[in-house]
Amino acid sequence: MTDITGTPVLEEKRTAKPSLWQRIAQNPVVLKELRGRMRGGRAFILLTIYLILASAVVALVFLGFYASSTNNVYSSANVRQALGKTVFFSVAGMELLMICFIAPALTAGAISSERERQTYDLLRTTLLSARSLVFGKLISSLSFLWLLLFAAVPLLSLAYLFGGIAIEEVFIALLILFVSSIFFSAVGIFYSSFMRRTLAPTVLAYATAIIIVFGIPILILMTLGLFSNAFAYPNTPYNRVLELVMFAGGWLLITVNPLGTGLVTELVLMNNQSIFYTNISLPNGGNFLVISPWMPFTVFYLVFSVILVVLSVHFVRRVEQ
């Protein structure tokens, strides 16, 4: 190829844009974090302890059923199915607790620890972008969390030995767990991105997880308890509006709580045999078609996660004034 004067010019080599996987694999922070995390015995000890605890929970559930069942647990299909469900939800519940308590530990110090170690300035003067730094920290934390989740899948599969679990339930449970892991990791990184020390982001990340996972259900139950009398009174316009508001508010709160989402989705599936929607009839009248909470839960948590990550990138990108 020649230019306008006839002088030969070198053709630029067209390089393809790297794929998402290549960008992840080439992110220096991901490689560094994973190397450090998997070095030595720490990761394997943690994984072993986690699996021992999960196995102990399954063993306790089985022993409980075995001790309380009048017949041989294998001879009754109902008992087996109930056992399968209990094993499944116990392991899933344990994994959710694991995510709530390990995600903050992994991510709350992600950026603030770089400041404490005095390596943050070194990173910010390289060509590593704020986005690469934040994503690298997020992905390396999620990798370890997902390793723990996947390691417990064989325990979940034990539920199939006993029956009582549909494949949809497995997918939805795993989706809730993965989406929760992304969200709680993003929460930790968000706090870490604008605080200098690790202690404050850790406390805030744990507080956020506890409020969301446990505080919301407590709030729902307290509200139901306070307003339960309202539903006993005759059907009045005030009561109908109050009921509607409480129902909408309650449904919204359920869809931002992973425990509530899992339980209500299971109820919807059991009552309606559908994973997508259900009909709700309110005590004072009104019949509504509502979508199963796992769908809005997934959307809300992913959107919140994106917002938190974008804000984290903004804080990391900021130059000290």
Binding site: P28, R35, G36, G40, R117, T119, L122, T126, V319
Partner: protein, 318 residues
């Protein structure tokens, strides 16, 4: 040589406190520039602005033509920055440390291994390649840090107190490394309290106090301006009076004093002040010898960096 660092009307406020006040400075390509000042003078603030870690309140810095305000990424690719602390990653080996930063500078994996080996050889850490970083001595960590700043072959090295806290041997090693890097074509801008290092290796010096640049230029220029007169001591075997008369008649000579007159051995010790350059001093010696005066010792008090610094600064703190 062209200017590779241009600091233009740089001002930095922390609240109402002015840390850097209208700083104007130019560093030529290939120079070793020493940035000297007392604690709190504004050295680190200036350096952090130059390294794109801190925003200036007013003014700008251009590094290799890139503005820290409008093109910080261009500045980062042109500089290697070493702060006055060594950030440690736990559980990282020496080669992994350099490999990580090479990746941060987007150096392809295929090129990293050779580059890391070469850099470790340059800073004399090749034998510690597979050792944990946290196990290195302070001097070794400084050398590793310098290797890190070179990983992407920058034009300018910005070093904040590179010899701080080092033992004498380590300081000499760092100095030698800086001279070697300058000979390789790097421009080195470093801040320090150690005036001996500045005198030893710097082409140019900038003295900052209370946020203001009080003196800048080559060491010889500063010496001429700030310490215009130096004291020269003379020991003669004899002919003290002739020497005294000859010296008094020479231009630039002042305050000729005979210290001890003729002692038992006939030796005479004289001092005089002189404001001239090295070739003029050499001319005085030649004139004395040419007049048949037996000169035994001829010493000039070096107008050392300490004297320059003390004359330039007032002991103010910003």
């Amino acid at each position: 040589m062209s200017a590779i660092i241009e600091i233009k009307e740089l001002t930095k406020y922390y609240g109402s406190r002015k840390a850097v006040a209208n700083l104007d400075l130019t560093v030529e390509e290939g120079e070793i520039f020493g940035f000297v000042g007392p604690n709190g003078a504004g050295k680190t603030s200036t350096i952090r602005i130059m390294a794109t870690l801190l925003q200036s309140s007013k003014g700008d810095i251009l590094v290799a033509g890139n503005s820290v305000r409008t093109n910080p990424r261009g500045v980062r690719s042109a500089i290697g920055y070493m702060p006055d602390y060594f950030g440690v990653y736990n559980d990282m080996l020496v080669w992994e440390y350099l490999d990580f930063f090479a990746a941060c500078y987007k150096i392809p994996p295929s090129a990293r291994s050779g580059l890391i080996n070469d850099l470790l050889e340059l800073v004399d850490l090749g034998h510690r390649k597979d050792d944990p970083v946290e196990g290195l001595s302070r001097g070794m960590k400084q050398r590793l840090s310098i290797a890190r700043t070179l990983i992407h072959d920058p034009q300018v090295l910005i070093l904040d107190e590179p010899a701080s806290g080092l033992d004498p041997r380590a300081r000499v090693e760092i100095r030698g490394l800086m001279v070697q890097l300058s000979e390789m074509g790097k421009t080195i801008f470093f801040s320090t309290h150690i005036l001996a290092d500045v005198a030893e290796i710097c082409n140019s010096v900038g003295i900052i106090e209370a946020g203001e640049l009080v003196a800048s230029g080559s060491l010889e220029e500063l010496q001429k301006v700030l310490v215009p007169q130096q004291e020269i001591q003379l020991t003669l075997l004899s002919k003290g009076e002739e020497a005294e008369a000859l010296l008094k008649a020479m231009p630039g000579v002042s305050e000729v004093q005979v210290l001890n007159g003729n002692n038992a051995e006939g030796r005479v010790r004289l001092t005089f002040g002189f404001s001239g350059d090295d070739s003029a001093i050499s001319g005085i010696l030649a004139a004395l010898v040419g007049a048949g005066i037996p000169v035994l010792h001829f010493n000039s008090d070096t107008r050392d960096m300490e004297e320059v610094f003390m004359r330039a600064t007032k002991g103010l703190v910003s």
